[in-house]
Each structure stands twice: as structure tokens, then as C-alpha cells.
Amino acid sequence: MQSSMRGNLGFGLGLRVEHYQQVLGERPAVDWFEVISENYMVDGGKPLHYLYKIREHYPLVMHGVSMSIGSTQPLNIEYLQQLKALINRVEPEWISDHLCWTGVHGRNLHDLMPLPYTEETVRHVAGRVRQVQDYLGRQMLLENVSSYVSYQASEMTEWEFLAAVVEQADCMILLDVNNIYVSSHNHEFNPLDFLAGVPVNRVQQFHLAGHSYNGELIIDTHDHDVADPVWELYRQAVKRFGNVATMIERDDNIPPLEELIEELEIARQIAGDVREAAA
């Protein structure tokens, strides 16, 4: 397996139905788009029509939500076949999914459930990532999720777990800076410890997103602007990991494209500041 993609795409956005026409009509200054793989696992019609058109003008990366890489039920071969077929048609720069599980016993909860951070889980997940990468013939990225529970069974921190999985699996990391912040609040750890524990050469992409409070817990809702403490954490992440492809995820309460592009400017600004300060 060829290793270490790196190569920076710049600053991107999640491609959303609401913006299809405008993206095609106006070709806004967004460096690349991320698409949710499952939304395009269909036979035809509008989704694929716009996907292919937009692909002609922008680099794309594919982001999945259903691989369920940490589940104890067997990998879903049919799903992987569909994923591979879509990869062949879209030719994305890279593909990613989440370090989580989404269901067992033939059920799908359509949510990103956290894993217990144990040696058993590391071996289990890393073995499955290797199988997927062999099948797809390419490396993939795993994303850290936001979580609201931690398990009695855990034997290590989330960042030690993430680092162990990607080393054993030889895959890359999609580091979601908002998710680190959300989980650090919910589980009361220092988010800078998380950043310090992630191997620098494995980080291929950053996610940024907004969140909401639900009582004392923070929920990863993707329905707001990126929050100030997350921007601050992003600054620290750029300091540690350097020039890494960055994008903003917005899935709910979707604003006009212009607003997201403005928000993306903040990311550019922060990354630029860090670069200048280092020079």
C-alpha cells in the first residue's frame, strides 16, 4: 500500500444540495468540496448529475458515514462494492470515514457511536481498516468523532487509541477539530493533550464545524458557525500539523454559500497567521 498522501488541497466546503446550482453557475473561490459518499450511492437523477458536473471544476474528497469500521459485525461487502464503484466514477483525492461503529446484528443506527479505547478494539479496527484498504486499493482517512459517553472498559485516552489504530492500520487521519473540542468538554480532558498525542505525519485533513449545548453536554450539531474556542484550537492544530487541507462542515440550518465562504476566510487567515509567525 502506498503511504502518506499529504499534498494540501487548501480550503474547502461540504457540498450541499442547497448550493448545487450556485456552485455550478458561479464557480465560487472554494478550493475543493467534500461530498457525503452515501448521498451518491444511487442510480441516477439530480445527485449524480450535479456531482459529475461539479467534479469537472473542483477536486472532490469522499466522506462516508456508514462503513461502521469499529462494529463487531462483519464488514458490509455490498456497501464496500458501492463505495468502490463510486470511487471509480468520481476519482476523489481521498476517502474518509469515522473511527466509530454505527450498528450491530444487522441494524443501522445512523449515528457515530464511540468505541471503548482498548487493545482489543485497536486490533479489531486496525485489521478491518487493512481489509478495506486492500479491497479499495488505496489508503483511507479515519476521523475522530464527537462523543457523549466514555466506557468503563477503556484502557487508554482517545488520542492514544487513535494513534495506535492508524499506526497498526497504516491509514491517515481526518482530524475534526470541533470534535476534539466537543469531546474534551464532555469528558473533561485538555484538548491540547489530544493534539499533542496525534502523530503529525498521519494528519491529512481537518474538519471544522459548529456545535450546540444540551444542558451540560456539548452536541456536535453542525448547525452553527464555528465557535471561537474551536478557532483557537484550530490555530494550535495548524501550528502542530502545518499546512493541512481544511474544510467546514455544515449540515443543518444551512446558510447562503457566501456566508460559508466568509467563514472559510477565517480559516485561511488563521493558517496564514501561523505560517507568517513561523517564517
Binding site: S68, Y79, R107, L109, H110, P116, L217
Partner: protein, 257 residues
């Protein structure tokens, strides 16, 4: 059972049916007890599926009151947990479920069926439709044995209720007509033309011809079927008229000679 399997089994049972074995696996803190933390997943599961049914079944959502819609969806979510990687297919059994459970509101199932058929047409495979010119260019001797491959998006459903009128009102945000039985059972064809989902109701003779043609009957057999509806002398003109209409609508993907 491995530790991981046990945790996932118990966690899932909490989310699906509130099974409390999961509580033992989870660490609580001042920020949230084990129960509050698991409840985040329990609630999110239902809300997410409710939202996806709402977006895939806009007619049903608009026709029912907010309370009715939520009650129906939550009952469905409990009865039919998702088994597919893509959330897109989660509502597949909704129309059947409504038929089984809502005998007092038979038009609910019909509306769900109409929504589902439209939803299927939305992203069915793309095939270029046969053009009127192509049809007109056929040799005279090709007609009798001619068969048709329809667009993958073409579907038909039989309705007893005025759900299409209600659907249109919902879509246009206009006052909804009262649910009413139609004068007779009516066939509605649904398909996609380029990127737009289209539908229209069909007179009985055309609906019968469509069933025959979709069952791979030849054009002459389709026309023979029209003799049940028309005087024999009128059948050739009517048959040609129906076929031309199908081609104009973009229903036919390929002529099989």
C-alpha cells in the same frame, strides 16, 4: 461474547428499546450521568429518522397534523429499525406499515405510496428517452412486433383517494382539499423527465395498455387489449395516440424491434 460485542449489543439495545444493560458500561460524571449521556444517542436516533421520513415523505408530512406525523413515525421507527447503510431507504416499509396499522385512514397509506414512488423516480437510473422522430422513422413492418423498454423511473400506482390533489396543495402551500374517494380507481404514472419528477393520471384504457406494455407485450397485443375498451375500428388510432403520448412524456427508454 467479546467485551466489544457485549458493549455494542447493550448500547444498541439502549438506543433501540431503552434496554438498560448499557448503563453498566458507561462512565457518568457531574457533566452528565450515564443515563443522560446514553439518552443523547437515544433521542438523536429518533429525531434523525423522523427528519429523514419528513424529507422523503413530504406529502404525508404535510397532510397529517404535526402530532399525527410524529406518532406515526415513532411507531414505525420502533417497528422497523433501519437495516441499510444508507438512511435514504429507511422509509421503504412505511406505506405497508400504514396500511396495516391505520385502517381508519386508508388515504395515509396511499399518500405514503405516492411519496415513495416519487422518491424512487427522483434518483432512478438515467436513460435517454426515445424521441418522437425515432418513432416516426420506424419502418411500417416494424410496428406489429414492436416492444418497449420503459425508463427505469417509470412506475404506476392505483389510487382510490384524491391524494395527488392533496399532495399538490401541500407542495404549493395552499389550503388542502378534504380527503375524498375518487369516482373510480385511478391509475397514476410517475416518472422522471431529465431531472424533474413528473406524474399524471391515466384513463382506464391507457392504464391497461401501460400494464400490458410494461409486461413486455408487443404493440399489436397491446392494441388487441384495447378492443375491450373501444370499437375495433377505433383501436389503431387510439393505440397510436397512446404510444405517441408515452414517447412525448419521455416514458420509453428503448424500442425493441
Amino acid at each position: 461474547m467479546s467485551g466489544l460485542t457485549k458493549i455494542q449489543t447493550d448500547f444498541q439495545s439502549y438506543v433501540l428499546e431503552g434496554g438498560d444493560d448499557a448503563l453498566q458500561h458507561v462512565v457518568g460524571s457531574a457533566r452528565g450521568s450515564a443515563e443522560q449521556r446514553l439518552d443523547v444517542y437515544y433521542q438523536a436516533y429518533r429525531l434523525r429518522l423522523l427528519e429523514v421520513i419528513g424529507s422523503n415523505y413530504p406529502g404525508l408530512k404535510g397532510m397529517l397534523s404535526g402530532e399525527e406525523f410524529i406518532a406515526v413515525c415513532y411507531a414505525y421507527i420502533d417497528k422497523y429499525p433501519s437495516t441499510q447503510p444508507s438512511i435514504r431507504w429507511f422509509g421503504s416499509y412505511l406505506a405497508d406499515f400504514l396500511e396495516e396499522t391505520q385502517a381508519d385512514h386508508p388515504h395515509w397509506a396511499e399518500m405514503a405510496c405516492f411519496d415513495r414512488v416519487r422518491d424512487k423516480a427522483f434518483d432512478a437510473a438515467d436513460v435517454n428517452a426515445v424521441t418522437v422522430e425515432r418513432l416516426a422513422g420506424l419502418a411500417a413492418n416494424a410496428w406489429s412486433g414492436l416492444r418497449f423498454e420503459f425508463q427505469p423511473s417509470v412506475q404506476k400506482l392505483d389510487l382510490l383517494w384524491n391524494v395527488c390533489d392533496i399532495w399538490r396543495a401541500v407542495r404549493k402551500d395552499e389550503p388542502m382539499p378534504e380527503p375524498e374517494l375518487l369516482a373510480e380507481r385511478t391509475t397514476v404514472a410517475v416518472w422522471r423527465l431529465d431531472l424533474t419528477v413528473c406524474w399524471r393520471s391515466m384513463p382506464g384504457d391507457e392504464a391497461a395498455a401501460l400494464v400490458a406494455a410494461m409486461n413486455n407485450q408487443s404493440f399489436s397485443d397491446v392494441c388487441a387489449g384495447l378492443c375491450d375498451w373501444h370499437d375495433e375500428s377505433e383501436v389503431p388510432a387510439r393505440g397510436a395516440g397512446i404510444l405517441k403520448q408515452w414517447v412525448t412524456d419521455g416514458l420509453i427508454g428503448r424500442l425493441v424491434l
